[in-house]
């Protein structure tokens, strides 16, 4: 295993239960130290650790022998190898690249298309770079990874639709009100999910929160948490029209809001739209409310069906994303392979340049015998340019063949090209030596010149 190799080792939500993942979890504060420790493992040349609630992955560029990453996890986290072994996966080279691209593009996430993972990979990269664990190998790979993730986001709709109830409620509110800046939210009942939805709405700019709950203390606590106002449950119908978004989640056995209430609200609001999110079971809002012009009502089933439809949409987009990743892995592999061509090309160019210089010296000697006047600088520059141009033109197809062989990973062909050239060089060198001997007496034999040109 040489420099430029890649090894990815870890566990994720598919391979390991949460009990194991939490034992391996690394906090942001510890990440730098753990990465530094990983770098100390014999055989590790470059390293990075991605640690999230769903995965712990060690990405390593090995230096010589394969490093003992299982031993590192055993030692560092004090997790027995027999416990860990059935749950870890290991990817090498091309497979490791593919896995990393899939992780950063959120195709390997629990919720496919969630946007946080790219930020987490970037954070891992920043930390690894800050402790000196990232050099040219990982640098190139990670820059490619970020570009691929960006491409997947731009060219597919994988993250285009929400799949959680709270974020769907926010999306719908934005489809009604545009910006949620200065929008007022009324929480009727204080359920966990309504609280979560309200939190999402506040994050998107909703300004005022009103809370009404049959248990007054709970309403006060919730209002304090959001910096909102408590409304007495008895004042529900006189105050509800002040809110643009009403989230209901009471335990009431009967419906609280009827279409008649809706008509009154719309009249008082001068037809400004209202959005009812009814996440109570049994429902708090009469389904007929949705028929009132300007009022939009979504109950828990509606939200869940939107979530299901969005998940189906994401699955379709994921197929397209997989195709993009496949292409990008191929492209990255070609980039890596093309690096193998560099020394061969350099060697070839140096050898040919040596031949050219030798030929020039010979030509200079011959010219001196033909003319008493030496070549001027301008004439000599023209000869230089001519020979260099010819050399480049002759070399061009060979260089292209070398690059193509390297990009395809065809090491046999690459070696063949190299050896062919070495032979040529050897022929040239021996021929040149004999020529030098002849040249001192007479003109060079014609067949030798033609062999060199061929």
């Amino acid at each position: 295993m040489g420099v430029g190799s890649l090894l990815l080792f870890g566990v994720n939500h598919k391979s390991a239960p949460v009990e194991l993942r939490e034992r391996l979890a690394i906090s942001s504060a510890q990440l730098g130290d753990v990465t530094r420790s990983l770098l100390q493992v014999p055989g590790v040349h470059e390293a990075m650790i991605v640690s999230t609630c769903n995965r712990v992955e060690l990405l390593v560029c090995p230096d010589g022998d394969a490093p003992d990453l299982m031993g590192f996890l055993n030692g560092f986290f004090a997790v027995d190898g027999s416990v860990l072994a059935p749950h870890v996966y290991e990817y090498r080279e091309r497979e490791a690249v593919r896995h990393l691209f899939r992780v950063a593009s959120s195709l390997d996430s629990m919720v496919v298309g969630e946007p946080q993972i790219l930020g987490q990979v970037k954070e891992a990269y920043t930390v690894a770079k800050s402790v000196g664990a990232v050099q040219s190998g990982l640098e190139k790979l990670l820059q490619n990874t970020f570009n691929v993730a960006k491409k997947v986001r731009n060219e597919t709709e994988i993250g285009g639709s929400s799949v959680s109830i709270a974020s769907i409620a926010v999306d719908l509110a934005e489809k009604i009100f545009g910006s949620l800046e200065k929008k007022k939210v009324f929480l009727v009942g204080a359920g966990e999910m309504s609280e979560l939805a309200a939190r999402h709405l506040v994050q998107r700019g909703a300004s005022s929160i009103f809370v009404a709950n049959r248990t007054h203390e709970r309403a006060v606590r919730l209002a304090a948490e959001f910096g909102g106002h408590v409304i007495r449950f008895d004042d529900l119908y006189t105050s509800a029209d002040r809110a643009d978004i009403i989230i209901t989640s009471t335990g009431s056995p009967t419906m609280i809001f009827s279409p008649e209430h809706g008509v009154q609200f719309m009249h008082r609001r001068r037809n400004q739209p209202m959005f009812f999110i009814d996440i109570a079971v049994p429902r708090d809002v009469d389904p007929e409310m949705n028929r009132v012009e300007g009022i939009f009502l979504y109950d828990i089933d509606d939200l869940q069906s939107v979530a299901a439809s969005n998940q189906t949409g994401r699955a379709k987009e994921a197929e397209q994303a997989e195709a993009i990743i496949e292409l990008e892995v191929e492209r990255y592999q070609r980039q890596l392979n093309s690096r193998d061509a560099v020394p061969v090309i350099r060697e070839l160019q140096q050898s040919v340049e040596t031949m050219r210089q030798a030929e020039l010296r010979r030509a200079e000697g011959r010219l001196r015998t033909l003319s008493a006047e030496p070549l001027s600088d301008a004439q000599w520059a023209a000869v230089e340019s001519l020979t260099r141009g010819m050399m480049n033109k002759f070399l061009h197809p060979t260089l292209q063949a070398i690059k193509a062989a390297a990009a395809e990973g065809d090491t046999a062909k690459l070696e063949l090209l190299r050896s062919t050239f070495d032979r040529k060089s050897a022929v040239y060198t021996s021929a040149h030596l004999s020529l030098a001997a002849i040249d001192s007496d007479s003109e060079p034999p014609q067949h030798l010149s033609s062999e060199e040109e061929s």
Binding site: L172, K175, F177, G178, N271, P273, E293
Partner: protein, 271 residues
């Protein structure tokens, strides 16, 4: 040369029209990157073309159906670009650019040659009159469009159906604002246009101006416009009823346009 610029503008509008579908319907950013520059380039070339045409002809007023079409197309694209600048929504481009492309198509083939019997067309005020009224028409088209889109989006949200081909629709509030502001701008433009037209006609035609069918219909449209604005403002009219009002005013607008055939006041040239 102006014809060349107009043709370049038509090509740009054509490109923007082709890009509008994937850019708007499928929210493809790559297409938006072509769509918007094409629309902007088209607008610039179009503006240069009209300015050069008027400057070459030594008159301020576009005359004839094709020149009017061209100016209306310019105003529609201008209105779309303003909406994009203000609301960052390209949805309206799906309608504005194909409309502009169609409007510009015939003028780009060739404009009619006119000789002018009236010196009035060389006055600066007449272009203000014409542009203001055309801007009012463009604003009304956008307002009607916004009302229709509002209705579609409202139905989509009410029915809880999420057909993927309608995900591009802008939020209800955005469309309401666009519709409302277009109406207000259109009303001001129409008032200015009619006022200047009346004053100019008083000088050149006299009281006969007010018996002209186009003029009578224009004032009728202005009154309807006021009615619609008042109703919208006092009741917060939206949705279906807003579409009815806008459609009514739009129909009157079409009849005003058609009334050119019967108008004696609006004839300045012989083709």
């Amino acid at each position: 040369m102006f014809l060349l610029w107009l043709r370049v503008a038509a090509v740009c509008y054509g490109i923007a029209t082709v890009c509008a579908l994937p850019a708007v319907l499928y929210c493809r950013r790559r297409w938006v990157k072509v769509f918007l520059p094409a629309a902007m380039a088209g607008f610039l070339f179009h503006f240069v073309s009209i300015a050069e045409l008027l400057s070459e002809a030594h008159r301020w007023m576009p005359v004839g159906t094709r020149e009017m079409q061209s100016l209306l197309a310019l105003l529609i694209v201008g209105a779309f670009l303003l909406i994009w600048l203000r609301y960052r929504t390209v949805s309206f481009g799906m309608f504005a650019l194909p409309l502009a492309f169609l409007l510009v198509l015939f003028p780009a083939i060739g404009l009619e040659r006119y000789t002018f019997s009236s010196p009035l067309v060389r006055g600066g005020w007449i272009i203000v009159h014409v542009c203001a009224l055309l801007a009012a028409y463009a604003a009304l088209i956008f307002s009607l469009l916004a009302s229709f889109l509002y209705l579609l989006q409202e139905k989509r949200l009410k029915d809880r159906e999420r057909p993927s081909f309608l995900t591009w629709l802008p939020p209800l509030e955005t469309m309401n604002q666009i519709g409302q502001r277009a109406l207000v701008i259109g009303f001001h433009c129409m008032t200015v246009g009619l006022l200047i037209g009346s004053l100019l006609a008083q000088e050149s035609v006299g009281p006969a101006y007010f018996r002209d069918p186009k003029v009578v219909l224009s004032f009728g449209m202005w009154l309807l416009y006021i009615g619609m604005l008042l109703v919208r403002r006092t009741t917060g009219l939206r949705g279906r009823r807003a579409v009815y009002w806008s459609s009514l005013v739009f129909l009157v607008m079409l009849s005003v346009w058609a009334a050119n055939i019967f108008s004696s006041v609006h004839r300045f040239s012989v083709p």
